[in-house]
Subunit: 348 residues, 2 copies
């Protein structure tokens, strides 16, 4: 998507041909700055401290992290260390492990002398796959949302609520939840996006930043406000991303998603979840089995009010999800539908 008119990606090779340039998302929305990751430790730190964040982007960053490790030391021991270091950074997003495992397994039978090049090729391919998946998610989601807009009569802008940041900043480009909105906007459908602030880290400010940079009208609201807006009929649809979606269709996403899904259900507002298949975990039966990352109290900011509990994700039961939007189209959030759409991921 565009930053100041210029098409931009969240992660790409630096001009030197081997460093990995990423947007420092801890500086946004105040400052747009890129930093270059030069070893696997940089990559792990970038994921852990959320310089890069968003399930798809941390997967691609992990793949580049393996490449950086192989450039420095292409032994089996180095590969194992890099893998362990990267997957330990964040426990909830399943595609971090998926991407790191894919890179490790692809390199195992490759002679050390060829591993670095192969790892860079793989990371680059995974980045392109992510862009392609997000573009397809955008097309499928745009069809769904256009139907909602047309049912409403098309006289007013389509009003969509989103939580956290599942935009292009959370992926390589396009985003997941925001990809359909960029598609619709580029196709000329008038939009207005309600952006949840998303405490405690305020990822909503990233969402507002990227929507505004691309020219999509939006308004930030407190996480508390979405229920009122839905009761008043001021939201036509909700769309969010997912850090992990499991076999029964339960969706793990940023803390607070469940509350918005409850309100959408109570108010008859469709609740869509956009996800690339890299975030599917069909080996896990139910959302209750997903480990929930606990993050530092310092995320609440300087006015730290005594003791804090800070779980980063929650689980939205499949019954509250209207549809999953994937790179293979719209999928009903049920085991049979997921297995049909993604047979290669289903348990045998």
């Amino acid at each position: 998507m565009k930053v100041d008119g210029k098409p931009t990606r969240t992660i790409e090779l630096d001009a030197d041909g081997w460093g990995v340039s990423v947007i420092d998302q801890t500086r946004l929305p105040e400052r747009y700055e890129r930093v270059v990751l030069r070893d696997v430790e940089d990559a792990a730190r970038a994921i852990r401290t959320m310089i890069v964040r968003g399930a798809p982007l941390i997967g691609v960053t992990a793949a580049y992290g393996i490449a950086l490790a192989m450039r420095a030391d292409a032994t089996d021991a180095s590969l194992a260390r890099a893998f362990d270091k990267l997957v330990a950074t964040r426990p909830t997003a399943v595609n971090l492990r998926w991407a790191a495992t894919r890179a490790r397994d692809a390199l195992r039978d490759v002679p050390p002398s060829m591993r670095a090049e192969r790892a860079y090729d793989l990371a680059s391919a995974m980045a392109e796959e992510d862009v392609d998946a997000c573009r397809r998610i955008g097309e499928a989601g745009a069809r769904l949302l256009r139907e909602v807009w047309e049912r409403g009569g098309t006289r007013e802008p389509l009003r969509v609520l989103t939580h956290c940041n599942a935009g292009w900043l959370a992926t390589v480009d396009w985003g997941t939840a925001l990809a359909p909105l960029y598609r619709l906007h580029d196709d000329g459908v008038p939009l207005h996006v309600w952006v949840d602030e998303t405490r405690p880290r305020n990822q909503g400010y990233l969402t507002a930043w990227e929507l505004e940079k691309h020219g999509v009208p939006c308004t930030v609201i407190a996480d508390n406000a979405g229920g009122l807006l839905m009761r008043r009929g001021e939201v036509d649809a909700c769309i969010v991303g997912s850090d992990r979606t499991v076999r029964n269709g339960d969706v793990c996403n940023k803390i607070g998603t469940y509350l918005k899904a409850l309100a959408a259900h109570d108010c008859g507002v469709p609740f869509y979840v956009a996800l690339p298949s890299s975030t599917l975990d069909l080996a896990t039966a139910s959302g209750d089995d997903i480990p929930i990352e606990e993050r530092a109290a310092s995320e609440f900011g300087d006015r730290l009010p005594g003791r804090v509990h800070n779980p980063a994700f929650d689980v939205t039961p499949a019954r509250l999800v209207t549809a999953l939007v994937t790179e293979r189209g719209v999928v009903h959030p049920r085991e049979e539908s997921l297995a049909r759409a993604f047979p290669e991921l289903a348990l045998q």
Copy 2:
């Protein structure tokens, strides 16, 4: 309740016998400071800028505001101006208007020379009534919550979630939602309180401050987190206050209350609303008829992320409320029950 061991009220006469001393709640939790209101303009500003906040406390502050106006100028015109100025400060809390109307009507037939004294007496009586109502709410709510704790086996602390600040800071003393918790704590029941941060103004920091000052264990959580905690079985009951409760039992309270009530309903957690009858508005039929105050974007803080929409309250439908806790005991949130418990407020 206690601050550093000393029993304290939110509002009282200053040592000079006529200024009105209040806690500056915009300084909390960083600093505990009192300010003295010396004219009706001070009182209106204190309400508008939330130096004082909480439905019961702003009612009593309005009554003292009328007294300050009468001290300066006891004419009919001054009384009418003071009334108009005070009720214009905040539109949602019904007991601001209730208290100002009560003071104005009580003074109408009083000779101007006696109005100031009468107005001070009335404000002082309203403060005592509020303390008494909150104490009774505490007793009724403590009985309810003790039953929840005993059903759970009493081996673990009772875990209660609250939203916003409906503690003694929001009243003259005791609080509404927190009164039952102070009662239980003082009676030796072990407690742990989950305190919603309550964006955008972070009134949860006030709640954590006052609970800690009184020695009640508590933990602040993001507004987004309560749903997860309830799904995990980590909340035994929710209790909140109310800015206005109407004839059909719908509850208007701080923005975000509705989302917590939805989660409690979905997870089988009892959801209690504690309120003095001064916040009852049985002349209004349904929560949908309540005007919702829109507050300034600046409440989001310094990192203002572009355009902001900031409604301060939402409406929780009566069907999601387990029980209302009032100074006359527990009341079912239905028109018939409210009319039976408060016949003098019911429409004829």
